[in-house]
């Protein structure tokens, strides 16, 4: 259960616009690279099949696991459009600690007792995290929620453009900005 010390705060990766990153570097347990790959596959599959609202809920933008250096090292990189602490708190709580343990247990840094609590998982990530010296994201000013909303708007606009009366409707002076975008 709990520890009697306060949680070490916030990994604080780098940030560009509304998006922040976490980059963590770990060591693969000797001989367990294939098991780690399988666990990563399950984790990524869980994310890909999760309801889209989960991603908005904990602000996940992207995530990758990279096994490198002759199957001896693991790099875990993720970016999110909220702050570090709530991202970790909410994503672990939503997906469950077991989801992290499934792949983390194949690293030499894994500590079963530490990774049995939310606070422990946070500390574990912090211990392996290195803030990026450089972080760039195109459209860094847009949250995932805004991207999804813009996608709905584009779909609606395209539907309008496909209507026979679209040109006449867009002749209104106030709609000129939309008409200017209608050509492409």
């Amino acid at each position: 259960m709990s520890t009697y010390t306060t949680t070490v705060k916030s990994g604080r990766g780098s940030r560009h616009g509304v998006v922040s990153e976490v980059s963590a570097f770990l060591h693969v347990r000797p001989g367990e690279a294939d098991q780690l790959r399988a666990a990563i596959g399950r984790f990524q599959g869980r994310l890909r099949n999760a309801p889209s609202e989960y991603m908005v809920k904990f602000g996940l933008v992207d995530m990758r696991h990279v096994i490198f250096d002759g199957d001896t090292r693991l790099c875990w990189i993720t970016s999110f459009d909220t702050d570090w602490d709530p991202y970790i708190d909410d994503s672990i709580t939503t997906l469950g600690i077991d989801t992290w343990v499934d792949w983390a247990q194949h690293t030499t840094e894994y500590d079963a007792e530490q990774l049995s609590t939310l606070a422990g998982v946070k500390k574990w990530i912090q211990s392996a995290q290195i803030p990026a010296d450089g972080f760039f994201r195109a459209v860094s000013n847009l949250t995932l929620g805004e991207v999804k909303r813009d996608e709905r708007l584009r779909t609606a606009f395209e539907k309008v453009l496909d209507e026979p009366g679209a040109l006449e409707a867009l002749q209104q002076p106030v709609l000129k900005p939309l008409l200017d975008e209608a050509a492409s």
């Binding site: 709990s2 009697y4 602000g59 709530p86 708190d89 949250t143």
Partner: protein, 446 residues
């Protein structure tokens, strides 16, 4: 005090060990006084707490119409002589104090600590006493007890006082019914105000219990000190009522439109009726009915915010089942508000210079992911609501160019000139011990 155990399948809370204001809503109407004290002598400070422990009201007495509660700041714990190993077990935000957290929670500019009312934010604030009663005569009795506890202790000084009282309208200074929403806490037996919300895990509001993550958050040690205690945040919020009225007048033509605009800011009509349940006009009967005025969700009927704007005040403070960034159950707050200052007469559009507003109190076991998260990520900005540039329209740090989008058919309305209506005059992070914890502090020896 008699024990009042409420057994549930999972957790049981000894209500007689929990201070009343932690779990029970304040009475309404009410009269109240906050006192801040400085401890200059640890022995006098311990004597004070020992005397107070005889008067502090517990949540185990639901019929009480008057309660006296106490909290201690980190500087206060140091002044009491709490051993360093114990001090180190308190949350880092609490140990730093609110002034040191200013940048993290957006207390910058006019909200910055250098503008706070003295002695808020200074090292002189050690103990906070809250006396709240349904009627002034009962409040007077409580204050007599408080003053009796301080009497004859030269090492304890009262350094600040703030009187509060329910306005004649039973509303806060902007004119809205307040104190409507509060969550149910598992194991307490005290019902919440929203039947659609499952009780929150005990550990969200009481230290030493399992919280929504399935864990027990790090609690102050030893167990006798920390268990059943909680963290409090106190903030004195000045409300510019005249500016709010002027804004409504200049952005809506008729009285009905001004009232609707005001409701869109808050998410409720002034009566307390929620927009989700009364989207077109106020329903005072609904607003006054505690069985109905908080019984709603946002989905599926109001996903888009056409009734209650996504960025309105109450929807930011508690998004309920709406899809936002942040797991709502990890960021719930118990909030207590009491009004202070004179009423600005109806129709007056110019500020009279009087200090009026709300003494805001947060209750929760996690200063970081409850109070500070809501303050910084849900109130002071809008990434979580797909509107990064927008802040809370009512209480957010808007400075003349604040943006607020009101979903509306056929075309949404977007305000782009929101001024600031609320200024933080100061506050502090406090620890409200259980009654057991209070006696532990009182019984400290050198």
């Amino acid at each position: 005090m008699t024990a009042h155990m409420v057994a549930t399948p999972d957790t049981a809370v000894d209500l007689s060990d929990v201070q009343s204001g932690v779990l029970r809503p304040r009475p309404s109407p009410y009269a109240g006084t906050y006192l801040l004290l400085r401890i200059d002598d640890r022995h006098d400070g311990r004597t004070l707490l020992g005397r107070l422990s005889e008067s502090i009201s517990s949540a185990g007495d639901p019929a009480s119409d008057a309660w006296l509660n106490v909290a201690v700041t980190y500087r206060g714990l140091v002044a009491l002589g709490v051993p360093e190993p114990s001090l180190a077990t308190f949350a880092p935000e609490f140990r730093a104090g609110m002034a040191a957290r200013a940048e993290a929670i957006g207390d910058v500019g006019v909200n910055a600590p250098e503008h706070w009312e003295h002695p808020l934010g200074t090292s002189d604030v050690h103990v906070a006493l809250a006396a709240i009663a349904r009627a002034p005569d009962r409040l007077d009795s409580l204050l007599e007890e408080a003053h009796a506890a301080v009497a004859g202790l030269p090492g304890v000084q009262v350094v600040w006082r703030q009187d509060c009282y329910a306005l004649p309208t039973e509303r806060e200074a902007f004119g809205f019914r307040d104190g409507i929403s509060h969550p149910a806490v598992e194991g307490s037996g005290i019902p919440g105000s929203n039947p659609h919300e499952a009780p929150l895990k005990t550990g969200e509001f009481l230290l030493g219990h399992v919280d929504e993550t399935g864990d027990v958050a790090p609690a102050p040690q030893p167990d006798a000190l920390g268990r059943n205690g909680t963290y409090l945040v106190f903030r004195k919020l000045h409300q510019d009522v005249a500016a709010f009225r002027r804004y409504l007048r200049t952005h809506a033509d008729t009285t009905e439109e001004q009232e609707l605009l005001a409701a869109k800011f808050v998410g409720r009509w002034r009566s307390g009726a929620p927009l989700v349940l009364a989207p077109d006009r106020d329903d005072p009967e609904l607003g006054a009915d505690p069985a109905r005025n908080n019984a709603f969700r946002y989905r599926p009927d109001d996903d888009a915010g056409l009734r209650c704007p996504v960025g309105s005040h109450i929807r930011r403070m508690n998004p309920r089942d709406a899809i936002v960034t942040g797991d709502v159950r990890l960021h719930r707050m118990i909030r207590r508000g009491t009004s202070y200052g004179p009423v600005l007469p109806e129709g007056v559009l110019d500020d009279d210079g009087a200090d009026r507003g709300l003494c805001f109190v947060f209750v929760g076991a996690h200063l970081d992911r409850q109070f500070e998260f809501v303050q910084s990520l849900w109130m002071n900005e809008g990434r979580a609501f797909s509107a990064p540039a927008e802040k809370d329209p009512l209480v957010g740090p808007n400075d003349g160019d604040g943006v607020f989008t009101i979903p509306r058919r056929p075309i949404r309305r977007r305000l782009t000139d929101l001024p600031r209506f609320v200024v933080n005059r100061g506050g502090e992070y406090c620890f409200a011990p259980s009654l057991t914890g209070l006696r532990w502090l009182a019984d400290l020896t050198d």
